[in-house]
């Protein structure tokens, strides 16, 4: 199944670039939902055909949360508040894309220096994981609207998950569920905060949040 796995990884990489280049919030939410769905496929494809009940369950739950529930929460936040698309990010969209290509170079460089001693592991896996994390970072620091920052956080989290799935790290079910729950609550709390932000500041542009400084 390694061809399929590679295809999924390439798609993941493309969704990251899509996130970097798009100004439309709805499109970005769709991209991050697609990422969540692709993410759930990775453990299934890499272990195919011997999938334990536990692995299947975790994959399905993670897919439901990351591809359905969290995007729904984000959409609700966007609908409720007086939302605008990202008009003037700190770093422009073309520049972001160019930076994205540079990040890919960095990711492959880092991945090349870390020894991976797991047979049958796709050579794309580690670079794609690191790339997704770096793209999430770039989104968080370069975008002005609170919703885009949450999307960046989700992208970052997805990248970390690619890594976790890649090595099929045998974390106990309890911990995996805990991690998913934390992410869910984090986005939920952030959603509520966004709601309050829009009421207080009449916008969710975080560059208005600049009264606290030294």
């Amino acid at each position: 199944m390694s061809n399929w796995l590679d295809a999924v990884l390439v798609l993941l990489m493309l969704t990251s670039l899509w996130l970097l280049g798009s100004s439309r919030l709805q499109a970005c939410i769709r991209a991050v939902a697609l990422q969540g769905a692709l993410l759930g496929l990775i453990p299934l494809l890499s272990k195919w055909p011997d999938i334990s009940l536990r692995l299947g369950a975790v994959a399905v739950v993670s897919m439901v949360i990351k591809a359905v529930v969290l995007p729904a929460l984000l959409r609700r936040a966007v609908r409720e508040v007086n939302v605008r698309n990202e008009v003037e990010p700190l770093v422009g969209f073309t520049t972001s894309l160019l930076l994205g290509i540079a990040l890919w170079g960095i990711a492959t460089h880092i991945a090349g220096r870390l020894p991976v001693d797991v047979p049958g592991l796709s050579p794309l896996l580690v670079p794609v994981a690191i790339f997704t994390v770096l793209c999430g970072f770039l989104l968080i620091v370069s975008r002005n609207t609170a919703v885009m920052q949450v999307i960046g956080y989700l992208g970052l989290e997805n990248g970390i998950y690619v890594f976790g799935w890649a090595f099929a790290i045998e974390e106990p079910l309890l911990v995996e569920m805990g991690v998913l729950l934390d992410v869910f609550v984090a986005v939920f709390v952030m959603g509520i905060t966004i709601h309050h932000l829009s009421r207080e500041f009449d916008s969710i542009e975080t560059d208005e949040l600049a009264s606290l400084k030294d």
Binding site: L114, Y153, V175, V179, S211, L212, D214
Partner: protein, 494 residues
């Protein structure tokens, strides 16, 4: 037994969300804090059996940090009751000088108790994944606490806290996965249980292990407030209600510190101690210097205390990085700092309630208008700057002794210079708060009615904490000293 430590605050939190009456809820807060403290004391007397294959266990380090958490929470819970009663009496409608409505008290109390449950889980977990879940849990439980006064600035602080800490902690998750890869490379069928990893530390892949520690340090270091990752800390501490600031500074930062210590301990056991020690010393010194720069001429006394926390987190990291006797000093300093900082934040809360301003230029002469709070400020200033006879003097001196013993001249010079700068900077800001001349209107009120009466709940808790620090400076009980030593050994700092 161990379950109860986490279950008591968690169940009490659910009750607090559900209870519709204020006074029973406040009683519940104090009762569950007292029960938690009692359970911690029992655990100190006879450490209970580990649970869940040893993922939840109490070693010396857990016991030490559990004791700090429980004590500070219990003492501040009394303050919380009075505080909530006073906030509850406020005009529920927004008015000219109070342009906001507080968060519902039920949510506040519930989150406070959830916060305690999450912090307890951090200190007792001996599994990297579980600890990560707990640390992120503390962020989520405390975010609504910072937003108690619903005004724009606290909202801004909450947002920064949520985003910066969540991103930081996400990196720590990546660090966890790196740890697992380090174990996989060694062909060990391992989970991320701390004890298992430490037992096989020698077989772990060193490169992945170093990368993992770096991520854990950056991730949990964000939460601990190590510069330059500290940016959320002054905002959150200055905008949160003072009792929350006291808990954030006095307890939460320690929990994040413990998470870093677990990583350090693993590296020491794997023979890579030099790598983690150097990083800890570097981050420690940078934090002290950055904090000193911002403390000098600070115009907001709650931000002042927040920067002071960054400085003290630097001392903790530095002490562990130096090792030897400094590791012991660092453990002792964790206790001293928690008590002192919680006391100072509570005193700051009293000051803020009276003057309605956090500006150091306007809140002056507390000794005249609020005599007990004035005394608390002056004692707190002496304690936090490490003056004798307070316990902080002893612990900062022990760290210095460790530095000198190890022959780290440059580190010692930087350490002393930063401490000196902080001493001067803090004195210059705090002394006018204590001895300055109050503004005309407050002077007039005081002249006609005498000093304001200070409610017992607002002064007794900080006085208890201050007395604790003073006693620790005069006499270190043998039992505590043993515990500190064992804790330092358990985290590889001895």
């Amino acid at each position: 037994m161990l379950w109860l430590l986490i279950a008591v605050p968690a169940i009490a939190a659910l009750l607090a969300f559900a209870l519709p009456w204020n006074w029973p809820r406040r009683a519940l807060l104090v009762a569950s804090a007292g029960l938690h403290a009692g359970l911690s004391a029992a655990a100190l007397a006879s450490p209970p059996q580990p649970l869940l294959n040893g993922w939840i266990a109490l070693d010396a380090a857990s016991l030490l940090f559990l004791a700090i958490t429980s004590t500070v929470f219990l003492v501040t819970s009394f303050y919380a009751v009075g505080y909530l009663a006073r906030e509850g009496r406020r005009d529920p409608e927004p008015s000219e000088d109070i342009p906001f409505v507080n968060f519902p008290e039920a949510v506040f109390t519930g989150c406070l108790l959830l916060f305690l449950a999450a912090m307890t889980l951090v200190v007792v977990s001996h599994h990297w994944g579980l600890m990560w879940v707990a640390v992120e849990g503390t962020t989520l439980a405390s975010a609504p606490l910072i937003y108690f006064h619903r005004y724009p600035k606290s909202l801004e602080a909450t947002w920064k806290y949520l985003v910066i800490c969540s991103v930081g902690i996400a990196l720590a998750l990546l660090g966890n996965f790196f740890l697992a890869v380090a174990a996989k490379g060694a062909h060990l069928p391992l989970h991320l249980a701390i004890a298992d990893l430490e037992r096989h530390a020698g077989a772990l892949d060193p490169l992945w292990l170093q990368a993992a520690f770096l991520l854990l340090l950056v991730g949990y270091g964000t939460k601990m407030g190590l510069a330059p990752l500290h940016t959320w800390l002054p905002d959150a501490h200055s905008e949160a209600p003072s009792i929350v600031s006291a808990l954030l500074s006095g307890v939460l930062l320690n929990c994040a510190f413990l998470a870093i210590l677990r990583g350090h301990s693993l590296l020491v056991k794997a023979g890579l101690g030099k790598f983690s020690q150097d990083l800890l010393v570097l981050f420690g010194l940078v934090s002290m210097v950055v904090a000193a720069v911002f403390i000098i001429r600070q115009a907001d006394y709650k931000r002042l205390l927040a920067y002071s926390s960054i400085e003290h987190m630097g001392i903790l990291a530095l002490g562990v990085g130096i090792g030897g006797v400094a590791g012991f000093g660092s453990m002792l300093h964790a206790v001293n700092h928690s008590f002192t900082k919680a006391m100072l934040f509570l005193a700051a809360g009293n000051t803020l309630a009276f003057f309605h301003t956090k500006s150091t230029a306007e809140a002056r002469g507390t000794l005249r208008v609020l005599p007990v709070t004035g005394v608390l400020w002056i004692a707190g200033l002496l304690a936090i700057t490490g003056s004798p006879p307070f316990g902080t003097f002893l612990s900062e001196f022990t760290v210095l002794k460790g530095i000198v013993d190890g022959g780290h001249v440059l580190t010692g010079v930087c350490y002393l210079a930063a401490l000196g700068a902080v001493f001067v900077g803090m004195s210059a800001v705090v002394l006018p708060i204590v001895y300055g001349t109050p503004a005309a209107e407050q002077s007039a009120v005081t002249a006609s009615q005498g000093p304001a009466t200070e409610a017992w709940w607002s002064v007794a808790p900080p006085l208890v904490l201050g007395t604790g620090v003073l006693l620790l400076g005069l006499y270190l009980p043998a039992g505590l000293s043993d515990l500190l030593k064992q804790a330092a050994i358990a985290v590889g700092a001895q």
